[in-house]
């Protein structure tokens, strides 16, 4: 278990601010955050590579706050893999063996197994600069894992790879985690990676942990505006609550459950917002009234499309209803079917369950 208490690191541009975090044994813990949030600094601090100005780091019950990196049993794999360019693949992988009391026979077996499992047994005599990105990554993994660390820190392991490779390495990481006793701590700015791999996850911002929990929990129930934004809840509005209804600007909507505090935020995922053709004969130019939400059990408002943004596979539509702009995602095919275009009137609807309150 890694227990980080009130950790403070100040490297000028990058800093950690009174950060606390607990990572359990054999977690695949994913730390998410935007670039510059302090992710890599936290990894470096756990590995003992940056000076800590306050707080403590306890690994498996031993206070490691001031221990040198070589005494911590923490392996690290950087985004650029940091293979030793003057050594062959084999020499790279064996680098750490001499510092650990591993019997030569055991080391030879581990070496064999790891290189076979990682599919790099054929590369042993090559130098790093002749390897592809994926191959380098596997070598870096083997090098870190062969000394059997308690924890392995992975710094954005997938972001430098071609998209096709990512899936493969993601599966490999999952397999390695399942088959070993090592705790994995990975940092990424990609939320999808986190969802696919994490047993537990946290969001870091400005050198502080914003939220910790299961990946899906963070995805569905962000605890703050920042996290909601980070996990892609594009519709985040300040709201006032009374019972199980909420008011944003002049729109009143139904919630799945009553809320106790009078003010806060609501957030709705763009894929939960449905667009349907405006009912004919509805003579309501400002579009704020709509059908009575409470009566239908759905929240529905009349609006007008103000912008359509091309995101590749999907379109993001901005629909203004009253003073509020909702953002909705729609596949390209659906767009063509419904002949939607900027300026068209449309109905915006979402179920009370899709409205997240915090």
């Amino acid at each position: 278990m890694i227990q980080i208490r009130n950790l403070t690191v100040d490297l000028g541009e990058f800093h950690l601010n009174n950060l606390s975090l607990t990572i359990h044994d054999h977690d695949f813990f994913v730390l998410m955050g935007p670039t510059g949030a302090g992710k890599t600094v936290l990894l470096d601090a756990i590995a003992g590579l940056v000076p800590v100005s306050g707080g403590s780091i306890v690994i498996s019950g031993r206070d490691m706050t001031t221990s040198p990196p070589e005494k911590r049993g923490v392996g690290i794999m950087y985004q650029d893999y940091a293979l030793f360019p003057h050594m062959t693949v084999s020499q790279n992988i064996r680098f750490g063996l001499r510092y650990h009391k591993i019997k030569p026979q055991r080391a030879a077996t581990d070496f064999q197994n790891l290189t076979t499992e990682l599919g790099i047994a054929g590369l042993l005599k090559r130098y790093p600069d002749t390897l592809s990105g994926g191959e380098r990554q596997r070598v870096a993994l083997a090098r870190a894992l062969i000394v059997a660390p308690q924890v392995i820190l992975l710094d954005e392991p997938l972001s430098a790879l071609d998209p096709g490779f990512r899936e493969e390495i993601r599966l490999l990481l999952k397999r390695l985690h399942t088959h070993s006793a090592v705790t994995f701590l990975m940092v990424t700015h990609d939320f999808a990676e986190a969802l696919a791999l994490a047993t537990r996850a946290a969001v870091i911002h400005n050198g502080q942990i914003q939220q910790t929990g299961q990946g899906m929990d963070i995805f569905h129930k962000p605890a703050s505006r920042f996290v909601a934004d980070f996990v892609g809840m594009k519709n985040i509005f300040p709201a006032t609550f009374s019972g199980s209804s909420a008011v944003i600007e002049n729109l009143k909507m139904v919630l799945a459950a009553p809320v106790s505090c009078p003010t806060g935020h609501i957030a709705i995922r763009p894929e939960d917002i449905m667009l349907s053709p405006a009912p004919t004969g509805l003579d309501d130019p400002d579009g704020t009234d709509g059908p009575d939400s409470a009566a239908t059990g759905q929240n529905a408002f009349q609006g007008q499309i103000t912008a359509i943004i091309d995101h590749g596979f999907i379109y993001e539509l901005h629909v203004q209803a009253g003073e509020v702009v909702f953002k909705s995602h729609m596949s390209k095919a659906a767009m063509v079917d419904r002949a939607l275009s900027t300026g068209k009137k449309t109905m915006v609807s979402f179920s009370p369950a899709a409205v997240h309150v915090f």
């Binding site: 990196p69 392996g75 030793f84 510092y99």
Partner: protein, 262 residues
């Protein structure tokens, strides 16, 4: 930049001018003495001794710089601390100080009126007119070139390589000797060549500390003063040739580590 661009032709003309400026005097120097003259100079024991003294004192300066300059270069490349700019400026001082001033400054410390000079006198170390004195002077003027070159070499190596080595169990020195040093080897060698090259050409400071034993530049100066241009040229040619051969050989022999190919 296209060929039609006037700036291209300005650059070419300036380049030619510089080439002529550097090569014309040197070519004149090398071609002036006759082959017979050159052969004859080779039999002159004084000349051989002076060239040998120049080569090995410069080499010694490079080795000393290597031994005590490398750790400092590493620290300068890897750490940031208040006053670092000042430290770097102090290291560069020997480059900007006029050469005779260097000699005079060192004499001031080595003399009997200074505590350091007294300690050295007690240990019967003499700098005035000795090989040790020459080596001290050459190290003084050559060291900045070594440290700057090696510092750049260390800076070019990602600290992440050392970090990974540490995380795999290597101590700080283990990471340095197994990772950083082998990767920086080329720039260390280049640094030593730069240092030795600067040292071998030193005249102004050497002549103040030690007229005798005579290094090649001092001998060339003496021949020029005593007998004229004609007698100094053959010695100069041999010094230039020896230096060129040595430095060229070192450059060629410098091992290029795999993965570090340039």
């Amino acid at each position: 930049m296209t060929r039609k661009d006037p700036f291209f032709w300005v650059a070419v003309s300036c380049g030619m001018l510089i080439f002529a400026f550097i090569l014309l005097p040197l070519v004149e120097l090398v071609t002036a003495p006759s082959v017979a003259m050159l052969k004859q100079t080779l039999h002159d024991k004084t000349v051989l001794r002076a060239i040998w003294l120049s080569v090995y004192t410069a080499g010694a300066a490079a080795v000393i710089s290597f031994l005590i300059g490398t750790p400092l270069a590493f620290v300068l490349a890897r750490t940031r601390f208040p006053g670092k700019k000042l430290v770097e400026s102090i290291i560069d001082l020997p480059i900007v100080i006029p050469h005779p001033v260097v000699g005079i400054a060192i004499l001031g410390v080595a003399g009997k009126n200074h505590w350091l000079g007294k300690i050295m006198a007690d240990l019967s170390i003499r700098l005035m007119g000795s090989v040790s004195g020459i080596i001290v002077v050459l190290t003084f003027v050559g060291m900045p070139f070594y440290i700057n070159s090696v510092k750049n070499g260390f800076e070019a190596i990602s600290p992440r390589l050392e970090n990974v080595a540490r995380s795999l169990g290597a101590s700080m020195s283990g990471a340095f000797f197994r990772i950083t040093f082998p990767l920086a080897w080329r720039s260390i060698l280049v640094g030593m060549i730069m240092c030795a090259a600067r040292a071998i050409s030193e005249f102004g400071a050497v002549i103040i500390i030690s007229y005798h034993p005579m290094t090649a530049p001092v001998l060339i100066y003496e021949r020029f003063e005593g007998y004229g241009l004609e007698y100094s040229q053959p010695v100069a040619v041999w010094l230039v040739l020896v230096c060129l051969t040595l430095f060229l050989a070192l450059r060629i022999l410098a091992p290029s580590a795999p993965g570090n190919r340039t």
